[in-house]
Amino acid sequence: MNHAPASRPRGLRRALLPLLAVALLGAPALANETPQRGGTLVIGIGQNPGHLNPAISTGSEVHAVADSLFSGLIRLDDQANPYPELARSWEVSADARTYTFHLRPGVRWHDGEPFTSADVAFTFEQVLLRYHARTRTGLEGRLERIDTPDELTVAFTFREPYAPFLQQLNVTEAPILPRHVYATVPDVQTAPENLTPVGTGPYRFVAYVVDDRVVLARNDDYFKPDLPYLDRLIFRVIPDANTRLLALERGEVDFIGGLPAGELARIDALPEVTLYTPNSGSGGGFCVMTMSFNLERERLADHRVRQAFAHAIDRQQVLEQVLFGHGRVATGPIHSQLAFAYSDDVRAYPHDPALAEALLDAAGLPRGADGTRFSTTFLHFPAFAKYGEVLRQNLARVGVRLELVALDRAAFITRVFEQRDFDTNVISYCNNADPAIGVARVYVSTNIGNIPFSNAAAYVNPEVDRLFAEAASQADVEARGRLYAEVQRLLVDELPYLWLVETQFSAAGRAEVRGLSPWSGSPAEAAWIAR
C-alpha cells in the first residue's frame, strides 16, 4: 500500500468529479475556497482526558484535547518542519549551543493577562523539566540555562551543541503554561487549575463534563489573524471504536482519530467522509511497533535465539493482517520518514522458518515430545493483542509457544520497567520529529531501570551510547545522518529488540470539514465547515 506522507486528504480525488461538473455548469470557481466562519465541530475521542494540563503528561488522551487550548513556541507541519507560533522568529548561534527566540508581541492568555518570556522560563524550569517525559529526557543534563533578557526574548543555552531542539518545541512536546496561574500552586500535578485551563491557544475553555465531553469556544483574541473560524469545539468521549465510527458516518461527530485498520479501505470509499493518514498524531509521531527481548533472561541473551525470532516472524503478515497494509515493514529503530537519519543499509532478516528452526536447534533448544521447544511470555497493552496473535501463529510453527499477557498501562509499567518480570513485550516506540527525542531513550544504557518506556531490554553498548550522544550534539545534518546510519547498523546486527512495523496514524473527518491538520495535537486550529 502506498505510504506517501499524506498531508492532503485522500478523498480529494473523489471531490474533483462533482467540482468539475459544477464548473462546467458555470457555478463560481470553488478551487480556492474561502473559509466560512462559524459552526460547531464535534471531535470524537476514545478516552476521557483526565486532566487538561498538557505540560505534565505525554498521554495522548490529555493532548488530544488540551493541545487546542495551549500553544508552543513553534508549530510543526506533517513533515516535522517548524513554523512560528508563540515565537515569531529565532536564531541559532553558530556553535548550535544557544537558541534565541523572539516572541510575538501582544499575545494574551485566555484570562486577559499578557504573555511574556517569564511564562516560557517558568514552564520549562518548573514544569516541563520535572514532569514531561520526553522533554525531560531530551533536555536534562544538556540544558545549561534559560535567559530572559526582556519580556519578548528567551534564550536557551546548552552545554553542548543540541541539534533537535526546534522539533521539541511544539505544543505537544513543550506547551507553555501561564506563570501567573501556576506559580503559587503547591503541586502542579494535582492542582485543580488543571481542570479549568488557561492557555494561549486558538480555543478557550468552557466546560468539562468528565467521561462525557469537553466544550471549548473560539478565542477571539487569538494571535493569528482570522483564526480560528469555528465558534465552538466539542470533544465527545466515545470509548467504543465501532460506535465512534458509526457516529462519524451518521454525522453525530465530525472528526475522529485512530480508526480500526480493517475499516480504512471502506472509509476511504465513503463520499461523505475524508480519510487522512498523517505521520503523527496527538501522542507523538513516526512510531515503530517494537518487540523487546529481556536480555537479562539467559535464553534471550543468546543472539541465535533472537535471530531465530526475527526469521520466524513474518513481518509482512503482521503488516497485512494487523494493519491491513497501512504502514510499512520496519527495518530498524528509525522510522523511514525521518529521511535524514533513516538508513536501510542494515542486515535483513527475511521470513525463513527453516532457518529459525536451525538456529534454535543450534542454540541447544530442541523440540520436546509434544513439539514445543520452550514457552515465552509476551506482555502487551490490550489494544495490541492482534500483534501477539500473529506472532503466536508464526512462532508456533517453529515450536515456540508464545504466552500472551494483556496488561493495562499501570500494570504493564510495573511489570516491565519496575519488576522486569517479562520475557518479551511489544511497545509502540514513537521516534517523534527527531531520533534524539524518541529513539535514543530506548537504547542508551543510562535508561535502564524504572523509567517507563525507555530501555526495556536492558541493552548495554557503550559504542551505541557514544554514537547517540554525538549525533545529538552535531549541528551538521549530514554528519548526524552518518552517525545514525552507523547506530542502525549496529543495533540491527545485535538485535536487542525486533522492529516489526512502522505504523500510520489515521483520522477521518466529514467531507464538509476543511482545513484540518490531523498530524497536530491541535487539528482544528484552521478548520472550517463548508455549508
Binding site: 460547531t40 464535534v42 478516552q47 476521557n48 483526565g50 486532566h51 505534565i56 503528561s57 505525554t58 520535572r130 514532569y131 514531561h132 517525559a133 525531560r136 500535578q189 494535582t190 485543580p192 488543571n194 481542570l195 463534563v209 468528565v210 467521561d211 462525557d212 465531553r213 466544550v215 466539542i234 465527545r236 468521549v237 466515545i238 470509548p239 467504543d240 465501532n242 460506535t243 465512534r244 458509526l246 457516529a247 458516518e249 451518521r250 453525530e252 493495562d408 498501562r409 499501570a410 500494570a411 509499567i413 510495573t414 511489570r415 519496575e418 523509567i451 517507563p452 518506556f453
Partner: protein, 320 residues
C-alpha cells in the same frame, strides 16, 4: 414496623464495612502502583517518594487499612485526584444518568413481564406458554452488549431511526422540553436492550408463581363458587403471585447495574459504567470502593423495600 426497619438497617452496617474492607484489600493486593496513576509515569525518584508520603502510601498495610476504615465510618469515601472531586460526589453525580436507563427499563420489563407471565399462566404447557417462555428466555440468554450492538447497527445505522451514541446531541445542547425530548430519543435503544435482558426472570417467575397460586385450594374454591375466570386471576391470584416477582426484582439489582455498564459502553452513555472502568485502570481506589459500596447499599435497600412490599401485599405477613 419501624423497629423492624431499624433492625434491618443496623444489620446492614457491618455488611457495608465488610465490603469496604474487601475493596481496600483488593486494590492493595493488585499489581500496578497507584502512584504511577497519581504522579504520572515520569516523576523522578524524589518526587515519587514525596507523593507516596503525601498520600500515606508509605505506611504499612495494617495502618493504612485502619485509617481507611476509620474514614469510611465517618462517611468519607476518599478524594479522587484524577477528577478533583470527592468520590461520593463523583459517583452520585453520575448516578442519575445510569438511573435514566435502569429506571425505565425496570418499569417496562416489569409491565411486559407480568403481561407475558399472565399470558403463559392462563394455559400452562400450551403453545402460547412455550412460546412466551422461549422468547423471554432468549432475551435473557443473549449477551446484552451483543444485543446493544445489533440494535445500534439496525436502528441507528441502517434505519437511522435513533441516534448512535450519547445522552444528548452535544451540537444542539437543547434545554427544557426540547432537551428532555432529545434525551428521550437517545434513551430508546439502550433502554430497549436492558428491558429485553430483564424481562426473562420476571416473566418466568410471574408465570411460575401464578401457576402455583392458581393451583391453590382457595382458588379452586373460588372457581367452584362460580367466579369468573378473569376475576379469579385478577383479584386473588395476581396479588399473591406478585410476591415472588417483587423478590426477583429486588434480587436483580446487581445484575441490572452490570447490564447498564455494558450497554453504556456500547452507546457511550455517560453513566457509572465508564466511571468504574476508567477508575479501575487508574487505580482510583476512592471511586472503585465508593461504587462497590453504592451497589451494596442499593442491594440492601432493595431487599428491605421488597420485604416491606411483602407486608403491604400480603395481609398475613406482619413484622414485629
Amino acid at each position: 414496623m419501624l423497629a423492624f426497619v431499624a433492625r434491618r438497617l443496623s444489620q446492614a452496617v457491618p455488611l457495608l464495612l465488610a465490603v469496604a474492607g474487601l475493596t481496600f484489600l483488593l486494590i492493595e493486593l493488585a499489581p500496578g502502583d497507584p502512584i504511577v496513576a497519581l504522579a504520572g509515569e515520569d516523576g523522578d525518584a524524589a518526587y515519587v517518594a514525596m507523593m507516596r508520603e503525601r498520600f500515606g502510601l508509605d505506611r504499612p498495610l495494617g495502618e493504612r487499612f485502619v485509617v481507611y476504615m476509620g474514614r469510611v465510618l465517618r462517611g468519607d469515601l476518599g478524594f479522587s485526584y484524577r477528577l478533583q472531586q470527592s468520590a461520593v460526589t463523583a459517583v452520585l453525580g453520575r448516578l442519575p444518568a445510569t438511573l435514566l436507563l435502569i429506571g425505565p427499563a425496570l418499569l417496562l420489563s416489569t409491565a411486559f413481564g407480568l403481561v407475558l407471565g399472565v399470558l403463559a399462566a392462563r394455559r400452562p404447557h400450551s403453545l402460547t406458554d412455550t412460546a412466551v417462555s422461549t422468547v423471554s428466555l432468549l432475551g435473557h440468554a443473549v449477551p446484552v452488549f451483543w444485543l446493544a450492538q445489533l440494535l445500534l447497527l439496525v436502528f441507528a445505522y441502517r434505519l437511522e431511526a435513533f441516534p448512535v451514541q450519547g445522552m444528548r446531541n452535544v451540537r444542539l445542547d437543547a434545554q427544557g422540553l426540547a432537551g428532555a425530548l432529545d434525551v428521550a430519543r437517545h434513551m430508546v435503544l439502550p433502554v430497549t436492550a436492558l428491558t429485553v435482558q430483564f424481562l426473562a426472570p420476571i416473566a418466568r417467575v410471574a408465570r411460575a408463581s401464578l401457576i402455583d397460586v392458581l393451583g391453590q385450594d382457595y382458588v379452586r374454591t373460588a372457581v367452584a363458587k362460580g367466579l369468573q375466570r378473569r376475576a379469579v386471576i385478577g383479584k386473588h391470584a395476581l396479588r399473591n403471585a406478585l410476591l415472588p416477582v417483587v423478590t426477583v426484582i429486588g434480587a436483580q439489582v446487581g445484575f441490572m447495574f452490570s447490564g447498564a455498564v455494558l450497554t453504556e459502553t456500547v452507546f457511550a452513555w455517560p453513566g457509572l459504567g465508564r466511571l468504574l472502568l476508567s477508575a479501575m485502570l487508574a487505580r482510583d481506589l476512592a471511586i472503585v470502593s465508593s461504587m462497590f459500596l453504592l451497589l451494596t447499599v442499593a442491594v440492601v435497600v432493595s431487599t428491605l423495600l421488597v420485604d416491606l412490599l411483602y407486608a403491604a401485599l400480603d395481609p398475613r405477613i406482619r413484622y414485629g
